[in-house]
């Protein structure tokens, strides 16, 4: 493996509450090369906070500390807002969960994608236009000229998500963080969107962090998986070996999913007290 793209050591994220600061990410460490890493966990496991802290998107009163949080040798925690703006979008970008809430409702699709591009690069108008159309084709939108003129409410959820992916990938970042990119979409569209992400990531040799609660999906699209529970990594394994997972939490999650040829009369339920305090 080449030099790591991203190094994270002892990452902690905390928020103040009435009863003192609560840590939502408790000492997370991993390194990422140009590969596809999946972070899986349930609501509240800290997986999204991990993704956001890499982009330094956690606002006060939230607090992020780490022994090391380096992207291509740049210490993320040392960057000021202006320096971060040069990194966000251009070198690390993030696909959010829901296209309905993440796209600007009063800008056309084309304008929004253009904005993502011209913020980071000086280009002529014709060239910008061409790049937008190429990008829309790359995310498999037929008829890109028409779609570029539409407003977000005029496109379907699956198309909205593809537009967001186009917007995130057009400045050609080195790392893409996808936070539940498909949970607002239909199963049949989910696969299409993930195939597009997968294809673009592999072709451009980018790093990918796929954050999801869906174990099956992550194991299909990633090389390596981190399973998180209450702010900690409980298990790390290669995607292909998920069925041999050891930790009771991972096993519990796997067992709780109904399968297509279901014969169990009752699904096993996680006993949440079992690993409390781990």
């Amino acid at each position: 493996m080449s030099a790591p793209l991203l190094e994270v050591e002892n990452l902690r994220v905390s928020f103040p509450t009435h009863s003192g600061r609560v840590e939502v990410v408790k000492g997370l460490s991993f390194t990422l090369g140009r590969e596809r890493l999946g972070i899986v966990g349930e609501s509240g496991s800290g997986k999204s906070m991990t993704g956001r802290s890499i982009l330094k998107l956690i606002r006060k009163p939230g607090e992020v500390t780490a022994d090391k949080l380096r992207f291509e040798g740049i210490d993320i925690l040392d960057q000021n807002e202006k320096q971060m703006r040069a990194i966000r979008g251009a070198r690390i970008s993030m696909v959010m969960q829901d296209p309905k809430f993440s796209l600007n409702p009063v800008m056309t699709v084309g304008e929004q994608i253009a904005e993502a591009l011209v913020t980071h690069q000086k280009l002529g108008r014709k060239e910008v236009q061409q790049r937008i159309l190429d990008m829309l084709v790359a995310v498999r939108i037929n008829d890109p000229e028409r779609v570029a003129k539409l407003y977000p409410h005029e496109v379907s959820g699956g198309m909205g998500q593809r537009i967001m992916i186009a917007m995130m990938l057009i400045p050609e970042p080195e790392l893409l963080i996808a936070d539940e990119p498909t949970s607002a979409l239909d199963v049949s569209v989910q696969a299409q969107v993930l195939d597009i992400i997968d294809d673009l990531v592999t072709r451009k040799g980018m790093g990918l962090i796929l954050i999801s609660h869906d174990l099956a999906l992550v194991s299909r699209y990633c090389d390596r998986i981190l399973v998180m529970n209450s702010g900690q990594v409980v298990e790390e394994c290669a995607a292909g070996q998920l069925d041999q997972a050891q930790h009771p939490y991972t096993r519990g999650l796997l067992a709780a999913m109904p399968v297509i040829d279901e014969t169990r009369d009752e699904l096993p339920v996680l006993d949440r007290t079992q690993w409390a305090g781990t």
Binding site: V187, I260, E262, D265, E266, L270
Partner: protein
């Protein structure tokens, strides 16, 4: 007697017809699923049965009695709906107690306190949740409240619109177990909308695959388990899940 009969059902929203010519019979006690992609009209059918999409033609019968287009108290007593998003379907400024007691007040049923207590027990919620507000509950607990609210009038049929798709897998397992137990205990008929085929396999007896407002195929769940669906589109859906 069949719990639900749909005959030549067409449903429109304004000028757009979204469901075309649906014929279906669901016997009492059966658990039936509609599957298909967004926009295929599956939720619209549930909404029409519940009275939320009044622009329909054809026939909807509940337990042998045809339903009218307007608000129908008898239908509400027998048919209740559980919605997808437990964050959106509970009134944020009403306590669980008042949300659960409201259907009783509307239908002039007494003994409200005891009934609320009993239903909380049925859905596995502790009594201490009774006077809390929705925002003080987790997603799974809220969905339990939504199910409890649907059960308040002791209906025969539950319409379930994606009841678990907003929940984590482990919470989904709890809610699916709960629904299965309630159905067994109260001999309920389920009409469920989902895009999750494994959930159908766990909870349902039959399913209808829908596309563009039409039923493409009706199959037994045994056929689903063996991957023995006939229509190409159904197989495509199955492949998207199984991959």
């Amino acid at each position: 007697m069949s719990a639900l009969t749909l005959k030549n059902l067409d449903i429109s929203y304004g000028d757009t017809k979204v469901v075309h010519g649906v014929n279906l019979e669901v016997p009492e006690g059966e658990s039936f699923a509609f599957v298909g992609e967004s926009g295929s009209g599956k939720s619209t059918i549930l909404r029409a049965i519940a009275g939320l999409a009044p622009e329909w033609t054809g026939e909807i019968s509940v337990l042998g009695k045809p339903r009218t287009h307007g608000v129908d108290r008898n239908v509400s007593r027998q048919v209740q709906m559980v919605f997808q998003d437990p964050y959106g379907s509970l009134h944020p400024r009403k306590t669980i107690d008042s949300a659960l007691a409201e259907p009783l007040a509307i239908h002039g049923i007494g003994n409200r306190g005891e009934r609320v207590e009993a239903v909380l027990k049925q859905v596995g919620l502790d009594q201490r949740f009774r006077f809390r507000f929705p925002h003080q509950l987790s997603g799974g607990q809220r969905q339990r409240v939504a199910i409890a609210r649907a059960l308040m009038l002791e209906p025969k049929v539950l319409l379930l619109d994606e009841p678990t798709s907003a929940l984590d897998v482990s919470v989904q397992a709890e809610i699916l177990n709960l629904l299965k137990r309630l159905r067994r205990e109260q001999n309920l008929t389920f009409l469920m909308v989902t895009h999750n085929l494994p959930v159908v396999s766990f909870l349902c007896d039959r399913l209808a695959v829908m596309r563009h407002g039409r039923i493409v195929e009706i199959a037994d769940v045994a056929q689903l388990k063996q991957g023995d669906l006939k229509e190409p589109y159904s197989r495509e859906l199955l492949a998207a899940t199984a991959a």
